[in-house]
């Protein structure tokens, strides 16, 4: 089993903590001049997304987590799982609801996503930073009102609800930032 010494700790390193794969966000070396040395780390649990702190005795070995990020294309959802395909090997994996979580609202077929695999099983999905979505439902547009600055909710084809300017209509295509959920502008196919 692969492992890391605390001396190798750095941001981005993937380690196992209490049975879950985690990613190190920050590593701080703490040592009283005459005393025991420690590594205090801030980590993200890659399964739950929760951030926590943990202290190791310096020099301790910690089990490595077999976690890799892979660019894959989103294919479809069959009700139980969301399927992704490797663009070169055409290998497919199914991600469950826990892995996809809130990001399901941004998944548009054929978009390239980052799939985080732990022991070859998807545990997290990162959609592209920007996606282009078609508005499927919104109040009728106020044509010509491009200046008032007001917004209204618009439901998109993937289920996401985005605040958009009043002049937009059903069938319009918009560009959205998936990290903030903000409307960025109109899009053309």
């Amino acid at each position: 089993m692969a492992s890391y010494s605390t001396n190798e700790f750095r941001g981005g390193l993937k380690i196992m903590i209490d049975g879950d794969p985690c990613s190190i966000i920050e590593n701080e070396f703490v040592k009283p001049g005459k005393g025991q040395a420690f590594n205090r780390v801030k980590i993200r649990n890659l399964k739950t997304g929760r951030v926590l702190e943990k202290t190791y005795k310096s020099g301790e070995s910690v089990e490595a987590a077999d976690v890799i990020d892979t660019d894959m294309q989103y294919l479809y959802n069959d009700g139980d799982a969301w399927y992704f395909m490797h663009p070169e090997t055409f290998e497919q994996v199914g991600a469950d609801e826990n892995a996809v979580s809130d990001n399901m609202q941004w998944l548009k077929e054929q978009d390239m996503c980052v799939v985080t695999l732990w022991n070859d099983v998807p545990i997290a999905i990162t959609p592209p930073n920007h996606v282009v979505l078609t508005i499927s439902e919104t109040d009728p547009g106020l044509r010509g009102d491009t200046a008032s600055g007001g917004t209204k909710p618009a439901k998109c084809e993937t289920g996401a609800v985005v605040k958009v300017p009043l002049f937009l209509e059903e069938g319009d295509m918009i560009k959205v930032d998936t990290r903030t959920g903000e409307y960025l502008g109109r899009a053309k196919e």
Partner: protein, 333 residues
């Protein structure tokens, strides 16, 4: 800001030849070195230099070392982790008050406040007790840091610090109690450590020191006798050592001792330290017989203190990372 004439370019591969510190910081560092020397010259404290190579080395339980060999023989040397033993040989030989600014080396210590190679300011005062020496540490910090420390120093004992921040008695609490205290305050399990003193270190460094006021020096006194190192045990209370530390906020600045002069007791402590090293799977260090012979010849009654000079520069220049006060950090050496 006064930066380097050669601008940083954006291709990171070739930029590592450049200094870590900016030019202003190096100028401030030079001024601080000069002020430090003036401080001691004005007080008739003799500046000395002792070897960086040691044929034996230190037995300290929690340190790892660099070794040096040469191309002519199989002899191995240790790069010093502290100039203490050599400086005490000078004291025993009759040097009188001495100070030194020297590079010291501690393997594996790398972080925002640690570098494996760093600059130590160390001095010894004949006839000083700890209180007098703490007074001098304060004067030096006032001279070097001026407006950076706006409030007068605060002093508390090790036990008072534990009582104040954790409501734990460091002398009587069981290991279980210490672990529980860490878990309660952090909501995480403590790491598995070798002995009770290591749990005290854990609590001190994680839950007590970070609370110290950054506007003042905090002196912590009366460390547990088990952490005496080269300090005397208190004559009235055998549970505590004649040792203090000074902090600015959570930054550990200085460690001072009313120096142990008893050669026999010193030898026993070194043997015990080597046992701890063995227990922690660290290589045993040869005991420095020159040092013990000097103690037998007679170390004068004195107190001494070691100050992390780079950390003083950090405080004086407002830098958060020790790399920012060095011409070249360990990763660029």
């Amino acid at each position: 800001m006064n930066t380097w004439a050669v601008p940083k370019n954006n291709s990171s591969e070739s930029s590592d030849w450049r200094p870590n510190a900016d030019l202003d910081t190096l100028k401030a560092r030079a001024r601080l070195l000069q002020q430090t020397r003036s401080f001691f010259y004005e007080r008739d404290v003799l500046e000395v230099e002792t070897p960086i190579l040691s044929a034996t080395g230190s037995t300290e339980a929690h340190l790892d070392f660099f070794q040096a060999s040469n191309t002519l023989s199989e002899d191995r040397y240790q790069l010093i982790a502290s100039p203490e033993l050599a400086m005490k040989r000078l004291l025993a030989a009759g040097s009188g008050d001495i100070f030194q600014l020297t590079k010291v080396f501690r393997a594996g210590e790398l972080g925002s406040k640690h570098q494996p190679e760093f600059t130590m300011l160390e001095w010894y005062r004949l006839g000083f007790n700890l209180e007098a020496l703490m007074g001098e540490v304060e004067q030096l910090c006032t001279t070097l840091l001026r407006d950076r420390l706006s409030e007068p120093p605060s002093t508390m004992t090790y036990a008072q610090a534990f009582e104040k921040y954790l409501a734990v008695d460091p002398f009587t609490a069981t290991v279980e109690k210490l672990k529980q205290s860490f878990a309660n305050h952090t909501n995480t399990e403590p790491p598995q450590l070798d002995d009770r003193q290591d749990y005290l270190d854990l609590l001190m460094s994680h839950l007590i020191e970070p609370n110290f006021n950054p506007q003042q020096l905090t002196f912590v006194t009366h460390y547990p006798a088990e952490q005496a190192s080269l300090a005397r045990i208190n004559a009235d209370d055998p549970r505590v050592a004649e040792r203090f530390e000074a902090f600015a906020g959570g930054l550990e600045l200085a460690n001072g001792f009313y120096e142990l002069t008893d050669a026999k007791e010193q030898r026993q402590r070194m043997l015990d330290e080597n046992k701890s090293r063995q227990h922690a799977n660290k290589p045993e260090t040869q005991i420095d017989q020159h040092f013990l012979a000097a103690l037998e010849a007679g170390l004068p009654d004195c107190s001494g203190v070691a100050v992390g000079f780079d950390r003083l520069v950090m405080l004086a220049t407002g830098k958060q990372n020790i790399e920012d006060v060095l011409s070249f950090s360990f990763t660029r050496c």
